[in-house]
Protein backbone atom coordinates (compact mmCIF):
# COMPACT_ATOMS: atom_id res chain seq x y z
CA UNK A 1 0.00 0.00 0.00
CA UNK A 2 1.35 3.43 -0.92
CA UNK A 3 2.08 5.93 1.85
CA UNK A 4 -0.56 8.30 0.56
CA UNK A 5 -3.50 5.98 0.82
CA UNK A 6 -5.70 4.63 3.55
CA UNK A 7 -7.35 1.25 3.82
CA UNK A 8 -11.14 1.34 4.11
CA UNK A 9 -12.93 -1.80 5.27
CA UNK A 10 -15.80 -2.72 2.95
CA UNK A 11 -16.63 -6.35 3.77
CA UNK A 12 -19.33 -6.87 1.18
CA UNK A 13 -20.24 -9.97 -0.73
CA UNK A 14 -19.55 -9.30 -4.41
CA UNK A 15 -22.93 -10.66 -5.44
CA UNK A 16 -24.78 -8.63 -2.83
CA UNK A 17 -27.33 -7.45 -5.40
CA UNK A 18 -28.12 -11.00 -6.41
CA UNK A 19 -28.27 -12.07 -2.77
CA UNK A 20 -30.71 -9.29 -1.92
CA UNK A 21 -32.89 -10.19 -4.91
CA UNK A 22 -32.71 -13.90 -3.98
CA UNK A 23 -33.71 -13.17 -0.38
CA UNK A 24 -36.70 -11.16 -1.58
CA UNK A 25 -37.72 -14.03 -3.88
CA UNK A 26 -37.34 -16.58 -1.09
CA UNK A 27 -39.57 -14.48 1.18
CA UNK A 28 -42.19 -14.21 -1.58
CA UNK A 29 -42.09 -17.96 -2.25
CA UNK A 30 -42.48 -18.81 1.42
CA UNK A 31 -45.30 -16.39 1.92
CA UNK A 32 -47.15 -17.81 -1.08
CA UNK A 33 -46.40 -21.40 0.01
CA UNK A 34 -44.63 -22.16 -3.26
CA UNK A 35 -41.89 -24.80 -3.06
CA UNK A 36 -39.13 -23.88 -5.49
CA UNK A 37 -36.71 -26.37 -7.05
CA UNK A 38 -33.85 -25.40 -9.34
CA UNK A 39 -32.05 -27.74 -11.74
CA UNK A 40 -28.47 -27.51 -12.93
CA UNK A 41 -26.50 -29.85 -15.18
CA UNK A 42 -24.19 -29.85 -18.16
CA UNK A 43 -25.86 -29.58 -21.58
CA UNK A 44 -27.48 -32.85 -22.61
CA UNK A 45 -27.74 -34.45 -19.16
CA UNK A 46 -31.49 -34.77 -19.57
CA UNK A 47 -32.83 -31.89 -17.49
CA UNK A 48 -35.72 -31.20 -19.83
CA UNK A 49 -36.84 -34.84 -20.18
CA UNK A 50 -36.60 -35.23 -16.41
CA UNK A 51 -38.56 -32.06 -15.78
CA UNK A 52 -41.25 -33.05 -18.29
CA UNK A 53 -41.76 -36.30 -16.35
CA UNK A 54 -41.80 -34.56 -12.97
CA UNK A 55 -44.29 -31.91 -14.10
CA UNK A 56 -46.49 -34.57 -15.65
CA UNK A 57 -46.47 -36.65 -12.44
CA UNK A 58 -47.23 -33.77 -10.09
CA UNK A 59 -49.87 -32.12 -12.26
CA UNK A 60 -52.75 -34.32 -11.11
CA UNK A 61 -52.46 -33.32 -7.45
CA UNK A 62 -50.49 -30.08 -7.39
CA UNK A 63 -50.41 -26.74 -9.14
CA UNK A 64 -47.03 -26.62 -10.86
CA UNK A 65 -45.12 -24.34 -13.22
CA UNK A 66 -41.63 -23.94 -14.65
CA UNK A 67 -39.22 -21.26 -15.77
CA UNK A 68 -36.63 -22.47 -18.24
CA UNK A 69 -33.33 -20.72 -18.93
CA UNK A 70 -31.64 -21.03 -22.28
CA UNK A 71 -28.97 -19.04 -24.09
CA UNK A 72 -30.83 -18.53 -27.34
CA UNK A 73 -33.71 -20.89 -28.09
CA UNK A 74 -37.09 -21.83 -26.72
CA UNK A 75 -36.60 -25.49 -27.70
CA UNK A 76 -36.84 -26.61 -24.09
CA UNK A 77 -40.12 -24.86 -23.37
CA UNK A 78 -41.84 -26.67 -26.24
CA UNK A 79 -41.58 -30.25 -24.90
CA UNK A 80 -42.33 -28.96 -21.42
CA UNK A 81 -45.54 -27.40 -22.67
CA UNK A 82 -46.64 -30.98 -23.44
CA UNK A 83 -46.89 -31.49 -19.68
CA UNK A 84 -49.75 -28.96 -19.87
CA UNK A 85 -48.52 -26.70 -17.11
CA UNK A 86 -47.50 -23.02 -17.32
CA UNK A 87 -43.97 -22.81 -18.73
CA UNK A 88 -42.05 -19.66 -19.49
CA UNK A 89 -38.71 -19.38 -21.27
CA UNK A 90 -36.01 -17.05 -20.00
CA UNK A 91 -33.61 -16.35 -22.84
CA UNK A 92 -30.38 -15.26 -21.19
CA UNK A 93 -28.61 -14.13 -24.36
CA UNK A 94 -24.88 -14.32 -23.66
CA UNK A 95 -25.27 -14.88 -19.93
CA UNK A 96 -24.28 -18.41 -18.97
CA UNK A 97 -26.47 -18.71 -15.87
CA UNK A 98 -29.74 -17.54 -14.32
CA UNK A 99 -29.68 -14.70 -11.79
CA UNK A 100 -32.27 -13.88 -9.15
CA UNK A 101 -33.37 -10.73 -10.95
CA UNK A 102 -34.14 -12.68 -14.13
CA UNK A 103 -36.44 -14.92 -12.08
CA UNK A 104 -38.15 -11.91 -10.50
CA UNK A 105 -38.69 -10.34 -13.95
CA UNK A 106 -40.02 -13.57 -15.44
CA UNK A 107 -42.51 -13.93 -12.60
CA UNK A 108 -44.07 -10.55 -13.22
CA UNK A 109 -47.80 -10.99 -13.57
CA UNK A 110 -47.74 -14.50 -12.06
CA UNK A 111 -49.81 -15.26 -8.97
CA UNK A 112 -47.52 -17.34 -6.78
CA UNK A 113 -50.42 -18.08 -4.41
CA UNK A 114 -51.74 -20.32 -7.16
CA UNK A 115 -48.61 -22.48 -7.25
CA UNK A 116 -47.51 -25.40 -5.06
CA UNK A 117 -44.31 -26.07 -6.99
CA UNK A 118 -42.16 -23.89 -9.20
CA UNK A 119 -39.23 -25.39 -11.11
CA UNK A 120 -36.31 -23.30 -12.36
CA UNK A 121 -34.29 -24.98 -15.10
CA UNK A 122 -30.91 -23.29 -15.30
CA UNK A 123 -28.81 -22.90 -18.44
CA UNK A 124 -26.88 -26.11 -19.22
CA UNK A 125 -23.64 -25.33 -17.42
CA UNK A 126 -21.90 -26.89 -14.41
CA UNK A 127 -19.68 -23.93 -13.56
CA UNK A 128 -21.39 -20.56 -13.60
CA UNK A 129 -24.77 -21.27 -11.92
CA UNK A 130 -23.04 -22.42 -8.70
CA UNK A 131 -22.38 -18.87 -7.52
CA UNK A 132 -25.90 -17.45 -7.94
CA UNK A 133 -28.64 -17.97 -5.36
CA UNK A 134 -32.07 -18.00 -7.02
CA UNK A 135 -34.13 -18.12 -3.83
CA UNK A 136 -34.84 -21.82 -4.35
CA UNK A 137 -35.67 -24.29 -1.56
CA UNK A 138 -33.90 -27.17 -3.24
CA UNK A 139 -31.12 -27.20 -5.81
CA UNK A 140 -30.73 -30.35 -7.89
CA UNK A 141 -27.62 -31.22 -9.82
CA UNK A 142 -28.16 -33.79 -12.56
CA UNK A 143 -25.66 -35.87 -14.46
CA UNK A 144 -26.22 -38.77 -16.80
CA UNK A 145 -24.59 -42.19 -16.84
CA UNK A 146 -22.97 -41.27 -20.18
CA UNK A 147 -20.97 -38.47 -18.55
CA UNK A 148 -18.80 -40.70 -16.38
CA UNK A 149 -18.66 -41.51 -12.68
CA UNK A 150 -16.11 -38.79 -11.91
CA UNK A 151 -18.28 -35.85 -13.01
CA UNK A 152 -18.67 -34.63 -9.40
CA UNK A 153 -14.88 -34.58 -8.98
CA UNK A 154 -14.54 -32.44 -12.10
CA UNK A 155 -17.15 -29.93 -10.91
CA UNK A 156 -16.91 -30.04 -7.11
CA UNK A 157 -18.27 -26.55 -6.51
CA UNK A 158 -21.64 -27.04 -8.21
CA UNK A 159 -22.10 -30.38 -6.43
CA UNK A 160 -21.16 -28.78 -3.15
CA UNK A 161 -23.71 -25.98 -3.53
CA UNK A 162 -26.51 -28.36 -4.55
CA UNK A 163 -28.81 -30.22 -2.15
CA UNK A 164 -29.62 -33.32 -4.16
CA UNK A 165 -27.82 -35.25 -6.92
CA UNK A 166 -29.84 -36.99 -9.64
CA UNK A 167 -28.17 -39.58 -11.84
CA UNK A 168 -30.15 -39.67 -15.08
CA UNK A 169 -30.49 -42.04 -18.05
CA UNK A 170 -30.14 -45.12 -15.84
CA UNK A 171 -31.72 -47.14 -18.68
CA UNK A 172 -28.32 -46.76 -20.42
CA UNK A 173 -26.29 -47.80 -17.36
CA UNK A 174 -25.56 -51.30 -18.54
CA UNK A 175 -24.71 -50.31 -22.10
CA UNK A 176 -22.26 -47.68 -20.85
CA UNK A 177 -20.85 -49.95 -18.09
CA UNK A 178 -21.75 -47.28 -15.57
CA UNK A 179 -20.20 -47.94 -12.15
CA UNK A 180 -22.86 -46.68 -9.73
CA UNK A 181 -20.74 -47.32 -6.63
CA UNK A 182 -17.92 -45.20 -8.05
CA UNK A 183 -20.38 -42.41 -8.88
CA UNK A 184 -21.73 -42.41 -5.33
CA UNK A 185 -18.17 -42.31 -3.96
CA UNK A 186 -17.44 -39.24 -6.14
CA UNK A 187 -20.59 -37.49 -4.94
CA UNK A 188 -19.91 -38.21 -1.26
CA UNK A 189 -16.33 -37.06 -1.67
CA UNK A 190 -17.31 -33.54 -2.76
CA UNK A 191 -20.53 -33.27 -0.75
CA UNK A 192 -20.61 -35.65 2.23
CA UNK A 193 -24.13 -36.77 3.11
CA UNK A 194 -25.66 -35.68 -0.21
CA UNK A 195 -29.03 -37.22 -1.03
CA UNK A 196 -28.76 -39.05 -4.38
CA UNK A 197 -31.32 -40.64 -6.71
CA UNK A 198 -30.77 -42.89 -9.73
CA UNK A 199 -33.51 -42.78 -12.33
CA UNK A 200 -34.56 -42.82 -15.95
CA UNK A 201 -37.06 -40.30 -17.26
CA UNK A 202 -37.51 -42.52 -20.31
CA UNK A 203 -38.52 -45.75 -18.57
CA UNK A 204 -39.73 -44.19 -15.33
CA UNK A 205 -37.47 -46.40 -13.22
CA UNK A 206 -36.45 -44.71 -9.96
CA UNK A 207 -38.89 -41.81 -10.43
CA UNK A 208 -41.16 -42.77 -7.54
CA UNK A 209 -38.57 -42.60 -4.69
CA UNK A 210 -37.47 -39.20 -6.00
CA UNK A 211 -41.07 -37.91 -6.24
CA UNK A 212 -41.74 -39.15 -2.68
CA UNK A 213 -38.70 -37.26 -1.46
CA UNK A 214 -39.86 -34.14 -3.30
CA UNK A 215 -43.39 -34.30 -1.85
CA UNK A 216 -41.97 -34.82 1.66
CA UNK A 217 -39.59 -31.88 1.25
CA UNK A 218 -42.49 -29.68 0.17
CA UNK A 219 -44.60 -30.78 3.14
CA UNK A 220 -41.75 -30.17 5.59
CA UNK A 221 -41.20 -26.72 4.13
CA UNK A 222 -44.89 -25.92 4.58
CA UNK A 223 -44.90 -26.98 8.24
CA UNK A 224 -45.37 -24.13 10.76
CA UNK A 225 -41.97 -24.82 12.37
CA UNK A 226 -40.19 -24.04 9.12
CA UNK A 227 -42.17 -20.89 8.46
CA UNK A 228 -41.15 -19.47 11.80
CA UNK A 229 -37.48 -20.10 10.99
Amino acid sequence: MSVNSRLVQVRQHVLKKNDVAARALRARFHEAGTFVVSLVSSPGAGKTAFLEKVLGSLRARYRVAALVGDLATDNDAQPLARAQVPVKQIITGTVCHLEAEMIANALEGWRLDDLDFLFLENVGNLVCPSTFDLGEDLRLVLFSVTEGEDKPLKYPTIFNTADVAIITKMDLAEATEFDAAAAHRSIQSVRPGMETFELSAKTGQGMEPWLNFLRCSQQNAASPQRQQG
Binding site: R11, V14, K17, C96, C128, L153, T157, P192
Partner: protein, 114 residues
Protein backbone atom coordinates in the same frame (compact mmCIF):
# COMPACT_ATOMS: atom_id res chain seq x y z
CA UNK B 1 -17.41 -17.17 -18.20
CA UNK B 2 -19.37 -15.78 -15.26
CA UNK B 3 -16.14 -14.14 -14.11
CA UNK B 4 -17.10 -11.14 -16.26
CA UNK B 5 -20.37 -10.75 -14.30
CA UNK B 6 -18.33 -11.03 -11.11
CA UNK B 7 -15.81 -8.40 -12.29
CA UNK B 8 -18.63 -6.00 -13.22
CA UNK B 9 -20.23 -6.53 -9.81
CA UNK B 10 -16.90 -5.75 -8.11
CA UNK B 11 -16.58 -2.52 -10.12
CA UNK B 12 -20.16 -1.47 -9.28
CA UNK B 13 -19.63 -2.11 -5.60
CA UNK B 14 -16.29 -0.28 -5.49
CA UNK B 15 -17.60 2.70 -7.49
CA UNK B 16 -20.38 3.14 -4.94
CA UNK B 17 -17.93 2.94 -2.07
CA UNK B 18 -15.50 5.32 -3.80
CA UNK B 19 -18.23 7.95 -4.04
CA UNK B 20 -18.86 7.67 -0.33
CA UNK B 21 -15.14 7.97 0.42
CA UNK B 22 -14.60 10.81 -2.10
CA UNK B 23 -11.21 9.59 -3.24
CA UNK B 24 -9.43 7.76 -6.01
CA UNK B 25 -9.28 4.04 -5.34
CA UNK B 26 -5.77 2.67 -5.79
CA UNK B 27 -6.62 -0.96 -5.07
CA UNK B 28 -9.43 -3.37 -4.27
CA UNK B 29 -8.79 -6.23 -1.89
CA UNK B 30 -10.84 -9.33 -2.56
CA UNK B 31 -11.17 -12.53 -0.55
CA UNK B 32 -11.69 -15.50 -2.84
CA UNK B 33 -12.53 -18.91 -1.40
CA UNK B 34 -11.45 -22.13 -3.09
CA UNK B 35 -15.14 -23.20 -3.12
CA UNK B 36 -16.47 -19.88 -4.40
CA UNK B 37 -16.87 -21.19 -7.93
CA UNK B 38 -14.75 -18.36 -9.29
CA UNK B 39 -11.41 -19.00 -11.00
CA UNK B 40 -8.73 -16.52 -9.95
CA UNK B 41 -6.92 -16.19 -13.30
CA UNK B 42 -10.19 -15.85 -15.22
CA UNK B 43 -11.35 -13.19 -12.77
CA UNK B 44 -8.10 -11.22 -13.12
CA UNK B 45 -8.43 -11.22 -16.94
CA UNK B 46 -12.11 -10.31 -16.79
CA UNK B 47 -11.41 -7.52 -14.31
CA UNK B 48 -8.64 -6.07 -16.51
CA UNK B 49 -11.09 -5.94 -19.42
CA UNK B 50 -14.04 -4.66 -17.44
CA UNK B 51 -12.24 -1.78 -15.70
CA UNK B 52 -11.11 -0.16 -18.98
CA UNK B 53 -12.88 3.12 -19.64
CA UNK B 54 -14.33 3.29 -16.13
CA UNK B 55 -13.33 5.54 -13.24
CA UNK B 56 -11.50 2.51 -11.83
CA UNK B 57 -9.27 1.96 -14.88
CA UNK B 58 -6.13 2.37 -12.72
CA UNK B 59 -7.45 0.40 -9.76
CA UNK B 60 -5.51 -2.74 -9.00
CA UNK B 61 -7.28 -5.95 -7.95
CA UNK B 62 -5.51 -7.72 -5.09
CA UNK B 63 -6.81 -11.24 -4.49
CA UNK B 64 -6.31 -13.13 -1.28
CA UNK B 65 -7.15 -16.79 -1.75
CA UNK B 66 -8.95 -18.32 1.21
CA UNK B 67 -8.21 -21.99 1.87
CA UNK B 68 -10.84 -24.50 2.79
CA UNK B 69 -11.40 -24.94 6.51
CA UNK B 70 -13.77 -27.61 7.85
CA UNK B 71 -14.97 -28.77 11.22
CA UNK B 72 -14.47 -32.45 12.02
CA UNK B 73 -17.08 -33.75 14.43
CA UNK B 74 -14.98 -36.79 15.31
CA UNK B 75 -11.79 -34.87 16.18
CA UNK B 76 -13.93 -31.98 17.51
CA UNK B 77 -11.46 -29.66 15.80
CA UNK B 78 -11.16 -27.44 12.73
CA UNK B 79 -8.77 -28.53 10.01
CA UNK B 80 -7.67 -27.06 6.66
CA UNK B 81 -8.60 -29.41 3.81
CA UNK B 82 -6.19 -30.17 1.02
CA UNK B 83 -8.65 -30.55 -1.85
CA UNK B 84 -12.15 -29.37 -2.72
CA UNK B 85 -12.59 -32.80 -4.32
CA UNK B 86 -12.14 -34.63 -1.06
CA UNK B 87 -14.08 -33.21 1.89
CA UNK B 88 -12.67 -35.50 4.54
CA UNK B 89 -10.78 -34.79 7.72
CA UNK B 90 -7.04 -34.92 6.93
CA UNK B 91 -6.42 -36.38 10.40
CA UNK B 92 -9.06 -39.09 10.93
CA UNK B 93 -10.59 -39.43 7.46
CA UNK B 94 -14.15 -38.74 8.59
CA UNK B 95 -16.40 -36.87 6.08
CA UNK B 96 -16.51 -33.13 6.85
CA UNK B 97 -19.62 -31.53 5.33
CA UNK B 98 -19.30 -28.62 7.74
CA UNK B 99 -17.33 -25.99 5.79
CA UNK B 100 -16.23 -23.04 7.93
CA UNK B 101 -14.47 -21.00 5.27
CA UNK B 102 -13.61 -21.25 1.62
CA UNK B 103 -16.81 -19.94 0.01
CA UNK B 104 -15.77 -16.27 0.25
CA UNK B 105 -16.33 -13.88 -2.64
CA UNK B 106 -15.98 -10.66 -0.76
CA UNK B 107 -14.58 -7.18 -1.28
CA UNK B 108 -13.14 -6.70 2.16
CA UNK B 109 -11.26 -3.41 1.72
CA UNK B 110 -10.31 -0.66 -0.69
CA UNK B 111 -7.24 1.56 -0.70
CA UNK B 112 -8.28 5.18 -1.06
CA UNK B 113 -5.67 7.83 -1.96
CA UNK B 114 -5.55 10.76 0.39
Amino acid sequence: MHELSIALSILDLVEEEAERQRGRVAAVHLKLGRLSGVVKDALVSAYDMAREGTSLAQTELVIEEVPLLAHCSVCAADHPLVSIQDLRCPVCGNPTPDILSGRELEVYAIEVET
